[in-house]
Symmetry: C2
Subunit: 603 residues, 2 copies
């Protein structure tokens, strides 16, 4: 990493390590101001730690000098097997832990090694399970105004009293009979709660929905695809690459009624910039996965949305992968960082897309500043044209070009992308992004498919494998958006499907599919500590402070798309949308699990 002057703007207090404004004791559950999340170093009040999606802590008790002495201090089984994505929230002395289906939520007492204060277990129809494309995962709960908000598999959004676990309100956000399911973490902003929906493999209609935090009443619903009044756009004021999107911007890019089963799911992490009053999220693949069957750019699938959280109106949009031919969902999280890009200080939005490009946009207006590959294996496009914003597709790897019933070989990345939901961490100290990546390629053969409500609407057969001549399926990398380059890269035998955590202690944490929690030096990537947790880690590393001591928590429990073979008991190589074959060797390292491990420095 090079040393140079950096723009340090937002929020300034964070950069001086430890300069936070209060201890955890100061924050009772009903006093938490989410806008001040960055100043509550001891707690973790929203899934990513702050609205900017940093996954960074100013805590530095655990640091590069002592992290080798880290050890588990207590553990907690959720009582559920299969993939455990997401991570806990920590509000005051209480930790809130969620589980995959049936989506049990626990309030654990940090004063008693995680004694259970309350438990909420929704009653859900298990028929939702076959409609969940990529394991029965859930990415965590949100907190706001004394309530814990859970997005259940069956799309029910439920608000629980954070002190008692009692249901305050409950609304049905979607319909599993149409292939709609809930897997994503909601986000609370001011007096509303926002939630996306899963189901891109079932031809559903993706949208972000806002509900009143107080009573669960619907406020607005903004679709990814469809007529303008569904999209919540202003043809004149909503822009793409700095220009108005115009009338019927989505409908014009679909043939006939195909948009009605067009997908554009919204199951990623949501960000928010309080100063601009804009929230950011991405939309997923268009339906079907057979590109030949759905001509057009299929807007606004594969798109970053910047919306006014109060009205839902889109300020700008940017489509990463027009007319997707590979299932390169655009749902990956948007990280908001005020940093240098190409040598110039900007209010950046940084997005490591499934398609293998790291996009940097001006988040005030959606202008594309940079889009470089963050895995050298990426081959489906030579580059992204910064003027048009479009990728330059290599015909050899174009499944549209090669046509249906042709098996296009060795496309990199695979459908699960150079990165999937596993979130990056950003350090305002190093200004680097710490990215858990997949190093996986695929063969992709589209075939004709007919839409049937609630049935898979995929239309492609896939195999996945490491890049030719290689063995490793993943890397954990540090990425610099100033010059758009990888700074260091730690190879991993399997995809890194866990969310990273950057710390003021010069250490970055992540988990591996074999089950290791790893701590590496922030500047060099050097391994400083590892511990084998009970099962493969696809959860996100979460820091907190309790009674003046820093701790690190992470859920283990192998699964998710990468671990779907183990989670669902599939063995055919092409099962799990192609993932089963690639990750078979995982069986030699780990078994299904569901355990939270809390690490500390001991006495």
């Amino acid at each position: 990493m090079k040393t140079r002057t950096r723009l340090i703007a937002w929020p300034a207090a964070l950069v001086a390590a430890g300069a936070f404004l209060g201890g955890p004791a100061a924050f009772a559950a009903d006093q938490v101001d989410l806008l001040k999340a960055d100043q509550m170093a001891g707690q973790w009040v929203m899934p990513a730690g702050n609205y900017a999606n940093w996954r960074y802590t100013t805590l530095n008790q655990i640091n590069a000098g002592n992290v080798a002495k880290l050890q588990p201090v207590w553990t907690f089984s959720t009582g559920v097997l299969r993939g455990h994505e997401g991570g806990p929230l920590i509000i005051g002395d209480t930790m809130y832990v969620h589980a995959p289906f049936p989506n049990t939520v626990f309030a654990l007492d940090l004063n008693e090694n995680g004694r259970i204060l309350w438990k909420y277990e929704p009653k859900q129809d298990p028929n939702v399970i076959p409609v969940m494309c990529c394991d029965t995962v859930n990415r965590g709960v949100a907190y706001g105004d004394g309530k814990i908000i859970l997005h259940q598999a069956d799309t029910t959004l439920v608000a629980l009293d954070a002190k008692t676990g009692k249901v305050v309100w409950s609304v049905k956000d979607g319909d599993p009979k149409l292939g709609e399911t809930g897997t994503s973490a909601p986000l609370v902003i001011k007096d509303k709660v926002y939630v996306g929906v899963s189901g891109g493999e079932f031809g559903m209609q993706g949208r972000l929905t806002a509900y009143n935090l107080s009573d669960g009443k619907l406020v607005w619903k903004a679709y990814s695809i469809g007529p303008d009044d569904h999209l919540l756009v202003d043809p004149e004021k909503t822009t793409a690459m700095g220009k108005p999107i115009g009338k019927d911007s989505s409908l014009q890019t679909w043939e006939g009624d195909q948009w009605k089963n067009g997908g554009g799911a919204t199951w990623g992490w949501i960000s928010y910039d309080p100063e601009l009053n804009l929230l950011y999220y991405g939309s997923g693949n268009p339906g079907t996965w057979n590109p030949v069957q759905r001509p057009g750019d299929n807007k606004w699938s594969m798109t970053v949305f910047a919306r006014d959280p109060d009205t839902g109106m889109a300020k700008w949009v940017y489509q990463m992968t027009p007319h997707d031919e590979w299932d390169y969902d655009g749902i990956n999280e948007m990280v908001l960082a005020d940093t240098n890009v190409n040598g110039k200080a900007v209010k950046a939005l940084v997005h490591f897309d499934r398609n293998g490009f790291a996009y940097v946009l001006d988040r005030t207006n959606g202008m594309l500043l940079q889009a470089n590959k963050y895995d050298p294996a990426v081959n489906w496009a030579t580059h992204v044209d910064l003027q048009s914003g479009r990728p330059q597709v290599v015909p050899q790897y174009s499944t549209q070009h090669n046509g249906a019933d042709h098996n296009s070989k060795n496309i990199c990345p695979a459908a699960l992308g150079s990165k999937d939901e596993q979130p990056v961490a950003y350090s305002p100290q190093t200004h680097l992004f710490y990215v858990p990546t997949n190093h996986v390629c695929m063969d992709y053969e589209p075939f004709k498919v007919t839409y049937t409500a609630g049935q898979p609407f995929v239309g492609a057969t896939l195999s996945m494998f490491p890049p030719q001549g290689e063995k490793n399926l993943g890397n954990f990398i540090a990425y610099d958006v100033n010059d758009g380059k990888i700074v260091w890269s730690d190879p991993e035998p399997f995809s890194v499907w866990s969310g990273a955590l950057a710390t003021a202690g010069d250490v970055v944490f992540y988990g591996t599919l074999e089950g290791y929690l790893k701590a590496v030096d922030m500047k060099t990537g050097k391994l400083l500590y590892k511990f084998k947790t009970p099962s493969g880690i696809i959860g996100n590393v979460t820091p907190f402070e309790h009674n003046g001591k820093e701790y690190i928590a992470v859920l283990s429990g192998v699964g998710g798309w990468a671990g779907i073979g183990m989670a669902a008991g599939l063995t055919e190589d092409t099962a799990g949308l192609g993932a089963v074959g690639a990750y078979k060797a995982l069986n030699n390292y780990t078994q299904l699990g569901g355990v939270l491990t809390v690490f500390g420095l001991g006495e």
Copy 2:
């Protein structure tokens, strides 16, 4: 504890801490001589560590001076929830871990934090689950002659190649359609493997069976109840309390054909004295639980058997609870210790029975030397008459006396005994027994029941609760058989359902139902260390050495009879044969799990 001269006889090498004859590297899997188990301190080659059922290690790297620094070093999820009884074996560099139904067995590489060398998952009919009275537990595998022997839930006894996991032979030991299931750990002695059977609540016919270790061929089968040729007894030579048992000793104590559904299951731990060439085990309750319905002493239910392992012939028997009225199974393990009893050196067999008495017998001839209460709450009998060997029952607590359809109140202990399967540890240094106990009483109402093959044959409704005016449901105690007294007693909120481990490091380990692994001072019971494992512990603490370092392993995963409410999702207080109500508060501490945690001293 008092200081005095002790008989230290067997095996002498053990007593000098650390004076073992070789390191783990010296023992390849095909070289292990089970008779020398005591001299292989680094390994754990049979369920109790040695044939004498001591659960004692001469390892002393982890000791009272440093145990506070213990920490988990790696963990492993079995991928199975529900109760995890038993513990792993350690042979050379390999750890063999088993799981509850479906009884998966794993060979884990100790050189790589438990990487999976092989995995064996039997295909079993899940209809066996409802026939398992008290959770889908399994108490572990046996090792012998390069084979790992597993007793499956469906009673299949299977021998696996210890190096590859491939099936060498497989035999069906019983029939789940008759209520027969496999839960117990087999034991290998010389060229045979011995296995008991579960099903006392289903009116099956209990027996111990010997198979050839080489090919699984049946060698002998010795029933607990029935005609002499079923019992494998010699009416003249087999003795009870020093006298020949005579002809038809069992049949004479049953009315008509009732013996045919008489139970006497054999699912406890087996011991062996190589010098006497006798194996020891206990039989369980007679069927039904309604005593009014089955007059007589119901021999040889509730009995200690001493048998010749080559022929199966019984040398002596001793019935603890003639005509059981409380389900005080006699299956608890027999610990073989050469120690002082009543001031005199004897070859003792020490047995902490479900009925609350600690029996000490001369294991050469079955003479009763001592039988004292090891829980002050025990009230069903005033004492055991040492001449007749019979308990003196208190009429108030006699469910026979009170009659069917009468609810006899406040009987102590409850049906699950002052101790159940959770094995004790014995230290040849302190000559004390470390006993995980239940401190639980019951109301017991017998009712008439008709035998139907494969259906519960219980005939009693139970409630369980702590002794009147008390809160704690368990104690972990040190017990001295010289004077037949409790030396110290550590109260626990719940039953201690984990097996103990005594060490040459002056530390005793046990696990709790909330999930704590605890280390206490051997001489005082003082708590020196605790760690909250992922789930409640009903597994047995197991030591081993690897690359010159001592480790402690334990399975967590709440369940078993005490945890049956959580394991099977039961909520009625009288469900789980009365256990559900007593242990309801466990829900506030732990959830289902299935994780092996390995502890060490760190760097």
